[in-house]
């Protein structure tokens, strides 16, 4: 799961359209355009997932990636997911399971029209990067039944103890060498070219430096960014098709310059209603956002002066802020390490440690968990995480429940109430401290 919203995004109607936003929009539009004409122009298409994605390797084979999670969240933002989910349920999918899967299957059943209104190409290969989520496996098995194309399975061991073990890395390397690369070669007719991969990884690392700078800019007071609601836009190019590309590098350079400027001018984040005037609460956020009411959800925070200074969701595609960089000197090894280090592939104790550090390092007043019904990978254990974090930091936590793309599970009034009372509680605590 991750985000690259295209339409109806704040980017469209923000008071000041910044260069990075324009760039991102263009990048996404041209990517979908390329996808729409992929098969006519002889390009091959690989479907894959965001966590542990092998974008540099994919690109080194001139393959075009499609990320079904992104399509699902786009459908959520475009208010189409309800209909798609209903379609999947009509075809026998249980109401209990992850709605990203159902949204994607429903979209497929209804013609596979992508976020820009153009039909998405069928996959030439399904790259099942099984990282951090069990459901991925079932998802692509379901797609395999629909498409007559090969599947490359990449099983990424879980980091239950938070450490990368040598044999875990070797296991991934072996799979890359014996399963993934041969299938890429078979589908594209091209040979694996490590130098090409290195080139791409160099570009990745460059963009990653700027990306981390942007994330860490939230340590400033006021924070110049919202690292969750705004963050989902910033992770877009990094988590999807643009790592290892010159456009990706350019995007993060532009973004960094803009944020540097905001820091110099002591400005807060930009919201769909313009720049945020006063930062009243600094929050850390755990869990993915809701997409069907994304803007409404965000508004519940910014209209109260609450800004998210760090979030775990912006780490589902990698923990760059903890030091990981794609390393051109050891390309495949570094891809293996990348896969293992994605947020949802980390054991719960490591997740708690990470959030604890965020609360401290970003001087947060509080933390909030958005627990989504769809996602067992994220959600199971969050109630314990809440307690542990409160105990370890002394900072109070808030807990809300919604879903990713199922509009039936976004109860605006309830959620707003919860957020308001939580922020009031923070206010009272603050007042008590001052008194």
């Amino acid at each position: 799961m991750s985000a690259t919203p295209v339409k109806e995004t704040p980017a469209v109607d923000l008071a000041q359209k910044e260069r990075s936003m324009v760039l991102q929009k263009q990048m996404i539009a041209s990517h979908y355009e390329e996808l729409a004409t992929a098969h006519d122009s002889g390009k091959k298409v690989v479907y894959t997932f965001v966590p542990g994605n092998l974008t540099e390797l994919i690109r080194s084979f001139d393959l075009l990636p499609v990320l079904p999670e992104i399509n699902a969240l786009q459908s959520g933002m475009r208010k189409l997911s309800g209909e798609y989910i209903a379609e999947a349920e009509k075809h026998g999918h249980s109401e209990d399971v992850c709605t990203y899967v159902k949204c994607d299957i429903g979209m497929l059943k209804k013609g596979n029209i992508g976020p820009t209104g153009k039909k998405l190409p069928k996959p030439d290969l399904l790259l099942l990067s099984y990282t951090g989520c069990f459901t991925f496996m079932k998802w692509f098995e379901l797609l395999r039944e629909e498409y007559d194309c090969p599947v490359a399975m990449l099983h990424v061991p879980y980091q239950s103890d938070g450490h990368i073990h040598g044999h875990h890395r070797d296991y991934i390397l072996q799979q890359l060498r014996t399963e993934v690369i041969p299938k890429f070669e078979q589908v594209t007719g091209l040979r694996y070219d490590e130098d090409r991969l290195r080139e791409k990884m160099k570009l990745s690392a460059q963009a990653e430096d700027d990306f981390v700078w942007v994330l860490e800019s939230a340590k400033n007071k006021p924070s110049p960014i919202d690292a969750y609601f705004g963050g989902v836009f910033y992770i877009g190019p990094m988590f999807t098709a643009f790592r290892g590309t010159p456009q990706g590098v350019e995007y993060y350079q532009a973004l960094r310059r803009e944020i540097e400027d905001r820091v110099t001018r002591h400005l807060g984040p930009i919201t769909p209603d313009g720049p945020m005037e006063k930062e009243r609460y600094r929050l850390v956020m755990e869990g993915p956002p809701n997409w069907t009411s994304f803007r409404e959800f965000w508004k519940m925070f910014y209209e109260e002066g609450a800004v998210v200074v760090a979030s775990s969701y912006t780490k589902v595609g990698g923990l760059y802020d903890r030091g990981f960089r794609h390393d051109p000197t050891r390309p495949l090894e570094s891809l293996a390490d990348y896969c293992m280090g994605c947020y949802t592939n980390l054991g719960l104790p490591t997740r708690v440690e990470l959030l604890e550090r965020y609360i401290r390092e970003y001087s947060a007043d509080g933390f909030m968990i958005n627990s989504v019904k769809s996602c067992n990978s994220f959600s199971v254990g969050q109630l314990l995480m809440l307690r542990q974090l409160e105990e370890r930091t002394g900072v109070p936590g808030g807990f809300i429940e919604s879903d990713l793309v199922d509009p039936r599970y976004f109860s605006a009034a309830n959620i707003k109430n919860r957020i308001e009372s939580y922020l009031q509680m923070l206010e009272q605590k603050r007042a008590a401290r001052v008194a």
Binding site: H93, E141, L383
Partner: protein
Amino acid sequence: MKPELAKLVNKAKELYDDLGLKSVQAWKAAVPGRKAIGYMPIYVPRELIHAAGMLPVGIVGGGDRLEIIRGDAYFQSYICHIPRSTIELALSHRLDALDGMLFPSICDVIRNLSGMWAMLFPDRYVHYVDVPQNYEAGVGGVYWHREIEILREDLSRLGGRPISDDDLRQSISVYNENRKALRDLYEVRSRKPWFFPISEMYLMLRAGNLLPVEEHTALLRAYLNEAPLEDGRFEQDESRVVLVGMFCEQPPLGLLATIERAGCWVVDDDLLLGMRWLMGDVSAVGDPLQSLTEAFLTKSATTASRYLPEGHRGRWLVDSVRRNRAEGVIFCAPSFCDPALLEQPMLIAALERESIAHTQFKYSEDTGQFAVIREQAGTFSDSIRLWSEP
């Protein structure tokens, strides 16, 4: 019921009701220094625990016999029931007899539960058993060999003595006997389901969660002998069905009895699948870790949590229907069980390609109302019988 059979059934029922692991405590108390290791569904290589001189203890939640007081505070309402009852068991000290816990990679719930365990019980041994989804000897095999080697090292440390290759080979043999007894039971039950009512047979399987494996094998053998001698067990006009979806959270006993009372004879199922995960013998000669690895790669059962590189997902189910001469399939999955429920449409498609009848319902381990299920299973059974009439 004849006294011999009654004795076996009562013993198994007592174990079924032993949520506080009194039998494990007794086993430990019999020889000072003994240790017990819990494991959750589906598969862990129990041979390693056995070879360390410890008791492997299958933990499958609290069923319908446990009031959830604390467990609900740890899990949102949209998560299946087994983790909350398992946490309840632990927080209420019912699992205190366990010196460690193994959590196999089966879904994100059990996976995250392993991390919860590590945080809640920092003094106890917790290990996530990440089985490979790559079944190539040089890839997944090498990885799995190392994983179980680490487990062996851990258990040696915990047990305070090395686990020798001979210990392991001996344990493999003992488990081969158990697997053989289970295969025999399933094979005879498939031919003559009327001898082995599902709710009774389930108790026999379930006893294997707590009993030392040698005693469990003996129990199964005795049951195989005694059950057919019971009066009133004869062939009737019932429907032969395969039950699917129960590999993790277990249905309440009442539900199994209800299916049977509704006119269905269960001829195959995936209840407590971990005991039968390896579908053949493991070699008891040579490098034992290599033997366990090879068996995993080549003899693993197929179920929702296992990746299959090729073909349609439902082939194994169609094969089971054919092999067991079943007339239909009942999908019976726990509510909110992503693996089972995501798998279901693929299995249904496979059955429909072969015109095999099916029906489906969901349960929770603490379901207490069976009227609807009885009605549905009854209608299903009737419809099968109607169709199959000449």
